[in-house]
């Protein structure tokens, strides 16, 4: 069968599977819609969390980013996994014991204030919207590259699918679809990685192949260091970024990960506190399978790309190079007219432009794997984008129906609340689709925003809310606002207002906008503490609540208190 048929077949079969699961597990009550009835097993929740977390960017772009930044790319690997340690140890078990449905629920109750709740809702909505637009765009890109459809049609089809299972199924539908999506995406990621690892190093395990030797007996990473240095680049295993910047970016990503509402809410779906701890462990183990394979895919990809293009005749390139030239992900310009490609660090002399997504998307072709593997990678990328989009849409709809409507209209019936949640989800799908078709020019920049905001707003107040009995509402509100305003101003200044000044020389203490969330977090902690000690302690009921969430005993299902 040809490539296009395989791709249509595999993408079609996985879509049918997701829709089937959604019909089988659709939600009948608000409890099922928000937290899947609180009856998800820790293993299933671990799988669902892993799919929820790994987005189009993790699947398609992360390996490519590492390919071109080498050691510096480690910030993403450590940052996006280390956050789960914080989540498992510091947040998940206590939030599960608290036993409600959303992050703003916790902030509102713990800080006995609807103002604090509204600030939290605004943060949650902002973070989720910036993220979901990127996912929809990802779906559109996969459609256009593999299925030869316009991006707009890809986005519309993606919207229709997500609409179907997120709006109908709620958290219950999403959870079981995400379990299936994890299986699809990890299989799709590993198959090409294993084949390429075998071809290059003879070791079928990519994580070990990364430390293996290429055909002439030299370790792959040493070979890569040498090749890149010859072409004028930094060595692969050395970095360009300063230690303080690496440190701050990693910290911001870790803390931001732990503070993302669509990840936190997954831990409300398990029956017990013990299950919340265990399922965080499962989630990270499943995530680690992809995250430890990614640096191998990255190194194999850049090695193969250079080997098959550098100093090669333009008329005699491998077919995958010419294929991806057509989608404009590879660009070749023979500047010195010698009929060969020079891939060099110097932009004036470099003749090869490679998009970072190539490292994953073209990997089956680079390794000359059969057509079904190409179709599989397309289905995997789609699974990664759809699963994350669905999780985010749920946070958006819950924020609107529960944290806004229910808070200010406590009398509404369960049935009406469920209807509002569904309408909100539908509205969010349409808005996300709009941004997927007409992406704001700053899609890449908003990722820094989402993590910076989660790090500087949610993480400190949730943490202090659990581990301190003295922190009060004045402190929490002041802390969140201080962290937010500081982080948003810093990122906006360097990304939008004066992008020409966005260099290490102008940054405060050499901290890039990507890492500033760490400082915003520190500011939030300081303000939160300071203001709390200058104002009265929280009331007795709240002190009681804190003591209660600290012990596992007595956790019921997540319910509406």
């Amino acid at each position: 069968m040809d490539l296009l048929t395989w791709t249509y077949l595999l993408v079609g079969v996985t879509f049918a599977l997701y829709i089937g699961i959604a019909i089988w597990s659709r939600a009948g009550s608000t409890q099922e819609f928000y937290v899947a009835g609180g009856g998800v097993s820790p293993l299933a929740n671990g799988l669902a969390t892993a799919a929820d977390w790994m987005s189009a960017a993790s699947f398609m772009s992360m390996a490519g980013i590492i390919s071109f930044s080498g050691y510096d790319g480690s910030v993403y690997l450590m940052g996006w996994t280390g956050g789960y340690v914080l989540l498992a140890l510091l947040l998940a078990p206590y939030l599960r014991k608290f036993g409600k449905f959303t992050v703003p629920d916790f902030v509102g109750d713990r800080f006995y204030s609807n103002k604090a709740r509204v600030v939290a809702v605004i943060c949650a909505l902002f973070i989720s919207f910036t993220y979901v637009a990127g996912q929809m765009r990802g779906v559109g890109i996969v459609f256009s590259r593999y299925l030869e459809l316009p991006i707009e049609w890809g986005v519309v089809i993606g919207m229709a699918i997500v609409f179907f299972y997120a709006v109908l199924g709620g958290m219950k539908g999403i959870t079981y679809t995400q379990v299936a999506q994890y299986c699809v995406l990890i299989f799709a990621y590993l198959v090409p990685a294993i084949f390429i690892s075998m071809q290059l190093t003879g070791n079928p395990i990519p994580q070990l192949g990364l430390g293996g030797e290429v055909a002439d007996g030299v370790p792959l990473l040493d070979k890569l260091d040498g090749i890149l240095a010859d072409l004028g680049f930094e060595e692969y295993t050395a970095g360009k970024k300063s230690i303080p910047d690496l440190f701050m970016i990693t910290l911001a990503l870790m803390v931001g990960t732990a503070g993302l509402p669509h990840v936190i809410v997954r831990f409300f779906t398990v029956p017990k506190v013990r299950d919340a701890r265990l399922s965080a462990g499962y989630a990270l183990a499943f995530i680690a399978i992809l995250y430890t394979a990614a640096p191998a895919v990255a190194a194999f990809g850049i090695y193969n790309t250079i080997q098959s293009t550098s100093e090669k005749s333009i008329n005699d390139l491998p077919p995958w190079v010419t294929n991806w030239q057509q989608t404009n992900l590879i660009g070749i310009e023979d500047k010195n007219g010698d009929g060969k490609i020079q891939y060099l660090a110097d932009p004036a002399a470099n003749e090869l432009r490679i998009d970072k997504d190539i490292m994953v998307l073209a990997s089956p072709e680079i390794a000359a794997l059969p057509n079904w593997v190409v179709g599989l990678v397309a289905a995997g990328a789609m699974a990664a984008a759809l699963s994350t989009a669905a999780g985010l849409l749920l946070v958006i709809s819950t924020s609107i129906s529960r944290d806004l409507f229910k808070t200010f209209q406590p009398g509404i019936s369960d049935k009406k609340e469920l209807r509002i949640a569904r309408i909100a989800a539908a509205g969010a799908v349409l808005l996300a689709g709009y941004f997927g078709i007409n992406p704001p020019g700053f899609v890449a920049e908003v990722v820094a925003f989402a993590f910076g905001l989660a790090a500087s707003s949610f993480f400190p107040v949730i943490l202090l809310g659990i581990f301190s009995t003295r922190i009060n509402k004045e402190g929490a509100i002041a802390g969140m606002i201080a962290g937010l305003v500081f982080t948003v101003s810093y990122i906006s200044y360097f990304k939008f207002i004066s992008p020409e000044l966005n260099t290490a020389a102008h940054w405060w203490w050499g901290i890039s906008p990507e890492g500033i969330g760490s400082l915003g977090m520190a500011l939030n902690f300081v303000v939160c503490y300071g203001v709390s000690y200058l104002t009265p302690a929280p009331p007795k009921e709240v002190q009681q609540l804190i003591q209660e969430i600290r012990i596992p005993k007595g956790a019921g299902k997540a319910i509406d208190h």
């Binding site: 480690s74 013990r274 462990g281 430890t292 005993k553």
Partner: protein
């Protein structure tokens, strides 16, 4: 006048101790081995890897997974010891 710590206070203190130990390992393998001391560790080799690079792109992640499972095991034992477990 001093009062002996209640059962709950002792449970919470032990919990905090567990967290402190596990989080110091979390910090050590990522920020320590992967970033601050990466150049020193890169002079040591682990097969085809430089050790610092290995910690930054592989070792820290394996350690994170291990830390969570140790935490789960340790807390389950602590919950039973203080009879605050759920069943």
């Amino acid at each position: 006048m001093s009062t002996s710590p209640t059962k709950m206070e002792r449970y919470w203190k032990k919990n905090l101790q567990t967290l402190a130990i596990l989080l110091s390992f979390w910090f050590l393998v990522s920020f320590g081995f992967g970033i601050i001391w990466v150049e020193e560790l890169n002079t040591i080799r682990l097969g085809g890897f430089k050790l610092g690079f290995w910690f930054a792109q592989q070792g820290s992640i394996y350690t994170f997974v291990l830390l969570i499972f140790i935490y789960v095991y340790r807390m389950n034992a602590l919950d039973r010891e203080f009879k605050v477990n759920e069943d």
